[in-house]
Amino acid sequence: MRKRILLIDDEDLVVRSLSRLLGKGGYEVLVCRSGKEALNVVEQQDVDLIVCDVRMPEMSGIETIESIRKIYKKRERSSVPEILITGYADETLSKKAEELRVAEYIYKPFDLKAFLACVAKNLKP
């Protein structure tokens, strides 16, 4: 069965590029354009990995991940690896990501092959 990846990003270019890449990589991709949309999806469906942009309007990537974890905790579901991607992060954001202990924290523009390898590495059982 194909692993399911939740992709959360408001940037069209990134969504198109990563959806295509992950789809070709054999993954099922669920796309959300905002943190709020992602929370609705996570309430209803299981995913195996989350890729989330840090800077999004209304609800940041950090806030989104924190909220998703609360949902998992409430439903007693085991957490899944989270990969944060960002165009630029100042020191404050970098520290927050570190405190959150996400699986990976990647700066754009990143190498697509390396990104795919990173996803595969974090999806290992």
Partner: protein, 150 residues
């Protein structure tokens, strides 16, 4: 905790959009983006040791440029221009530019320059000196595999 921060190999040039950059449509006029590419390139070269010596005898020549515009910027926006290199050869190299609004992370533009070095007097192509080559390699990426298409 060690992170896979692959693309931290970059040079960043910061710019604040000024009122004088704005046209009547309240956005930074697109010609300024190309100017910023060259400003960022100059800033990158300032990192070279013996920079003054370098520019006395060597001219950085531009063969080709490309700009792609993704979003507008307005007065007061803090823009980050991230510079990477690609296809670094003996006499030529490319520079890739990713323009991002610092506060929101919004992608604004993508730029590319194909450059080479020529002798100031003869205009003949010359090999990239080791100082510049090392600088370029420190920010080198594989353009064919990047998230954005420059």
């Amino acid at each position: 905790m060690r992170y896979f921060a692959y693309s931290q190999k970059e040079f960043v040039y910061k710019y604040v959009v000024m009122l004088s950059d704005i046209d009547q449509f309240k956005h930074m006029s697109f010609a300024n983006y190309l100017k910023l590419m060259f400003l960022a390139t100059d800033a990158l070269l300032l990192d070279l040791q013996q920079y003054q010596e370098f520019i006395q005898s060597t001219r950085l020549k531009t063969y080709y440029s490309r700009m792609q515009f993704k979003n507008q910027t307005v007065f007061g926006d803090n823009i980050l221009i991230k510079v990477n290199s690609s296809c670094v050869e003996q006499e030529k190299f490319k520079l890739l530019f990713t323009y991002v609004i610092e506060d929101t992370g919004t992608l604004v533009a993508l730029g590319k320059l194909d450059m080479g070095l020529v002798n100031c007097n003869s205009s003949q192509g010359i090999s990239i000196p080791s100082g510049l080559s090392n600088l370029l390699r420190s920010i080198e990426v594989d353009e064919a595999n990047l998230l954005y298409k420059y």
